[in-house]
Symmetry: D4
Subunit: 220 residues, 8 copies
């Protein structure tokens, strides 16, 4: 009754509606998932707890749940065309789940991904070591909590757009990710834009749009 | 003495250092401008007051000053290759100067631009009228103050990345652009990323990076 | 001992005191409910947990509990006079409980309601499809979380007052509904006023007052 | 070039576009004013400084400027039909300019107004003295700075909707009107909704919409 | 080991150290309580959960626990000299526990108290009814959540100091009591001073100090 | 026209209305001053600029202007009865104007004052040197900016109520006095209550009320 | 897989990577601990819950867990050279766990510590009593919640650097330690610098660096 | 009259009182300067405008004014003993004045300084180029505005304490330096502590204290 799934979204924006699972009961997620699956051949839900995931896996036998990113996916993911790729890079090991949300979103949407995790600026060599992979990317998703310095350092070293994802990792004056968010918005390096705190999904989605445009088939 | 211009930046990131004119005296801007001009053949300074601009125009006879966006440019702008373009769209007529900062940045960097100004969501037809231009774009810079709703409405209608630029236009509970900034960070539409309040330059820069990747010559 | 129910409120303001159930023990709610019921013939309590509701249903056999909106109502609701109606419209499916609080408040007070749920601006057609219902309304309650753009878009399309209800749906930089609240307060469209975050009750109450004045019997 | 006046707004929403004069140069205001005047027979601009007003009065000889509310009006105001009226009430004498913005907006739109100024709750008799005028109103605009307690006290005494307008009057922990804004959003009295800080225009506009609906000709 | 009780405090400031029970384990509270009891003949602990209270009651057989205010008291309270009294007044029934913390603090310190609960400004008669009791008081502790308007209305009606205690009662834009706190700090009525959110203890303590000075034996 | 002076305030609350001069034109202040003078025999205005003061001194030949506290007083101040006194103590020399506002308010209302200025906690001896004067006071107004530590240290050393006045002295993370305000609200010492930032007037008013109650003639 | 321990950190910065245990599962902590232990001969983890600690103690038989500070240490601590020492001083007994985190960090890194706990400014003698110990220190870590006044008072009495650690002890307007943080940043006493809220580790680390430099072997 | 200079401060804390010139009239600064000069042989004032400086230079013929840092110094600076030095490093050229305040404070207090300006992380080579100078320092003052990433990157590369000074350089979501402040407080690198926004004086003072302890004559 109280849900109107936006089934025309794929044709309008190039990607099916992804289900925001946070406050929805498992049954409602399942219902929307079935509708999206029917329209698009695959479906993705974010912020799904383990318990809700169990209900969904029962309902959709081929569903996969990734406990790290708390995502449930059903259906075949598209094969990435060409060899262009996005990098998902994270600062600390506690940023793992947000980074993985970004990486899986890219794969769900049909983009190739390289993961570079735990490369924070307090140990700069971990970043400088991988400059070749970073410079080969067509878009970068940079995930960091605490002081959120990673995107600034990165963007001074590469030519592609950097989508910065602040995380709520930290305590005290991190104010739930606000410190990292503000740092990223004030980046003195060019080519950084920012999505919501812990929004790995949004970071991945934007990087995918850049890869699409690069492949030249974005408007098809 | 106390400035070290980052002259290798163009080769590292694809674009020369753009000068942030806000707190710098005219003489210091001129000095940096000369260095950048020498290294890159063109130079751009943002947030330059009319008085400082006068000093710069005396020093660089071919400098152009745009009073709306408060930018000073010297040297030839590159001719945009191909017919791909970015759209710069703004919500209210008071957002003009920020929007123009984005548009001129794109042109300075060598990208083609279409301007769609004063198309806020309170008169939705002004936006829906121009869907063809919007859907033809490879990247969109969406500039809005007050409640910052424009990027959300837009991103549900197009396939390319939308770079949202909140402005400080408004009063009271707009808190200098904070209301628009938060709205844009929380966009329920996919494909929106955000730059700092009044950062037209950042919006334009990011859109340019997408056009570069599209033209396939981003890494050259 | 420590409660003084305001039993003259109905004659002073046109509506009986509605009970704020959040921090009150079930016994205290029951006690106040009995007093209001005696004075006004019906009673309503908001923010009642399932457990407290069970206690109340035992005490008042004809009580109804709506788990979505967490409201308990006792007594007959007045029949709405005439065919004027308010619309309660919501942006996302997660805003359901707040929207339903508004709708039930209107019905409790004796006003007719049309519900339009899950019509957020990321899929604009869901809103434009129902323009006839929206334009026929005498007052609109617009419920939205995240970036809270719905009231701005709506108010540019209709002639009646729009009461905007921000919700705490969202995460990160939504700051518990602050982003939506600020957006709504800064609406560039005219005819929008705002109530507290998650205050569906307040939205419904205000819409009811407009319907009353419309029916010409507000002061009787 | 960079303004697209929304001339269809009157037929869509019942009222012509009112010009937000804050950041616009006098010439731009004049240009828009002429367009609105041509389409609607009258025009109103808010937040116009004395200097800009002088330019406008030269251009439109029948323009009136009210220095208190900083508004410029051109053209004949409609005669209010019937004897229904709105009250504009203010707490302190420093709230005058915001209150007057509300009152003049109501008159510009064709509604009758009663002004009750300097009636703050620190001297309660000033409010209780005028209960008859307050109870006769069809809508109330309540303007207050500092702790913003006026709407709460009022709404417990009357039956019509109260539109609360917080003002930036105060200092220190008033944080530019934030204290009053938060107080009003948290009103424990029913029937209060809130507009932006210092937005007398919005308060008046909403009150007018209620009077329209009351007169039964709102949809004509 | 890690506690140094300030046993000379009573002689320096006139009152024994009151134990802040929030984060302390029951054993630590008991230990401090014994030390204070030994030095002053009575002891009081605030913010004590039911479980911790049970431990304390076992240890101190004559201890009394008040579940509403979450306070534990041991020892005889001093008899209030003379007939001067403080009023503790609260706005809503949910403010009960904070109000009671204030009232019990006054009694523990040896002052007489009159309680006036659930007298919020939305039903003004509940306050005006008791003007005689209010005007007879030597100090008033005014406890209110939500918009915190009670102290402003009160202070305009009486001659004694009003100690305002904001509470965290409310939701959404009450921001845990911030709305009430700011309102009280900005009171347009004279004679209001403010303590921390939910600090009933502080409100009571200050009122006691005024009664002491009144009795003329404050410095003995 | 738009001012209703509260002339009965003295009989209701014990003190005449004091004029808040901040936003009022000199003429309006003069008008209110005349009315208060007529009703109470003396009048006081706060936050009066030098220019406005000049206008007032012309109008009221016996007016005194204190440039430090920016106050204008007209009429004879009452002679303080008895030898009880309040102390006004300040932390830094930059807090002078706020401290002086408190001291003059006390004198205007008829209370005796001792001033102890520039006694901040960074040089503790400046405070400990004057313990005798502090311990002899019946009420203390403690004025401090920056970290606002003075009231906490003081209240642990004396028995009378301490009214803390945070000032906006400081920069950066003092956020216009917010740091000092929060510190004072969280004082771990008992007997501290707080007024608005820079509200020397409020601090003095509250101290006066305590002295009144002490003198036993508060209700006469 | 997703952790890259920074094993060269000790040689670069003089201290091994300390493990931030907050969000990491026990298994991941154990894995990193083993790697650090292998490289540096000892390892330390902060913010480890009792349950996780149990897992770690099973894995590393010589591990010690301190429940107060929630730290796990493995391996031999270096013997402090010379007799220079740091003081860790705390204001309230509730600050114990943060203070102990600082003290154990100092000991883990090889510095001598003197602990002075529960010496808040509300009972100044507790601080002045220990001036000799304080003046003998080479660095001080000052831990305080609520109003955070301790470092200001201290820094006016000693010659060594004071590292201030705000804690989240408090409620209401302490806003999770923000009040103490701001107070410390605005200290009017010289020689105070600040670390994050509840960051005892950071306070201890900085004090250790000062002791190192003092011992003259910092660069070896 | 209203200033009590803390002349014993040098003997208590090792450094004379430095005059905070922001709100003080030139005459008052001069008066305090004379007193400090007499007691300590030299004097320093911060935040002195050009106009006030002119007055001071007239009064003290050997005074030096540095317009960049807005400091006035009188008297001979002590010769730095030994070759230990502090580094003052800044991120952008707009941070110059704050950095210079730190450097001059160090020199005034008798410490040797190396300046490394305009070395922000967007051009990492500018920092890595100077690792030798950085690693030779005994303390570092790191000055940065915008996203404040410099101290984090630095502290991962050196062994001495880093005193981070956030600046108000930036706009929009920098919120007057708040973004940089929060970033620095949340630094994931060890050995960073933070002073107030734009407090170059504080950064320099702390670095000096470390050099003192290093030289072993800190307590003399
Ligand atoms: N983790 C996420 N963060 C932000 N947006 C999301 C997330 N997951 C799904 N969405 C978007 O949320 C919207 C669905 O909202 P709803 O109607 O509440 O399910 C769609 O536009 C999704 O693309
Ligand atoms: N003082 C005001 N406060 C809020 N909105 C206003 C005000 N004055 C005019 N407006 C609205 O602002 C919009 C015009 O914005 P702009 O295109 O910038 O002129 C119109 O929708 C007006 O109705
Ligand atoms: N509920 C309360 N709110 C504020 N302060 C309190 C409260 N209860 C006790 N105190 C004060 O807290 C201090 C004790 O702090 P602690 O050393 O942590 O026990 C004493 O000064 C008490 O007077
Ligand atoms: N720029 C500055 N920032 C912070 N504190 C300062 C500054 N300049 C001087 N001070 C300190 O401010 C205090 C003087 O305050 P005042 O009594 O107002 O002059 C002394 O403790 C100084 O050491
Ligand atoms: Mg790591
Ligand atoms: Mg417009
Ligand atoms: Mg939906
Ligand atoms: Mg008045
Ligand atoms: Mg009640
Ligand atoms: Mg001083
Ligand atoms: Mg204690
Ligand atoms: Mg630079």
């Amino acid at each position: 009754g109280h849900t109107r799934v936006d089934l025309e979204r794929e044709c309008r924006t190039g990607a099916p509606e992804v289900i925001f699972g946070e406050r929805k009961p498992a049954e409602q997620i399942a219902e929307i998932m079935a509708a999206v699956l029917h329209a698009s051949g695959r479906a993705l839900a974010t912020r799904v707890s383990g318990e809700k995931a169990a209900v969904l896996m029962e309902r959709f036998p081929d569903a996969r749940y990734d406990a790290g990113s708390r995502m449930v996916a059903v259906g075949e993911f598209p094969e990435p065309p060409g060899d262009a790729y996005a990098v998902v890079i994270s600062a600390g090991s506690s940023d793992y789940s947000v980074a993985e949300e970004a990486a899986l979103t890219l794969e769900f949407l049909g983009s190739r991904v390289q993961r570079l995790y735990d490369c924070g600026v307090a140990g700069l060599h971990r970043l400088l070591d991988r400059l070749d992979v970073l410079r080969g990317a067509s878009a970068i998703v940079a995930v960091a909590g605490m002081e959120g310095a990673l995107p600034s350092v990165l963007a001074g070293l590469v030519k592609c757009p950097v989508f910065a994802v602040p995380t709520s990792v930290g305590y005290g004056a991190s104010f739930g990710g606000l410190a990292a968010l503000l740092a990223m918005l004030n980046s003195c390096a060019n080519g950084v834009s920012v999505v919501n705190i812990d929004n790995g999904f949004g970071g991945g989605f934007n990087a995918h749009l850049v890869l699409c445009s690069m492949r030249g088939h974005r408007h098809s």
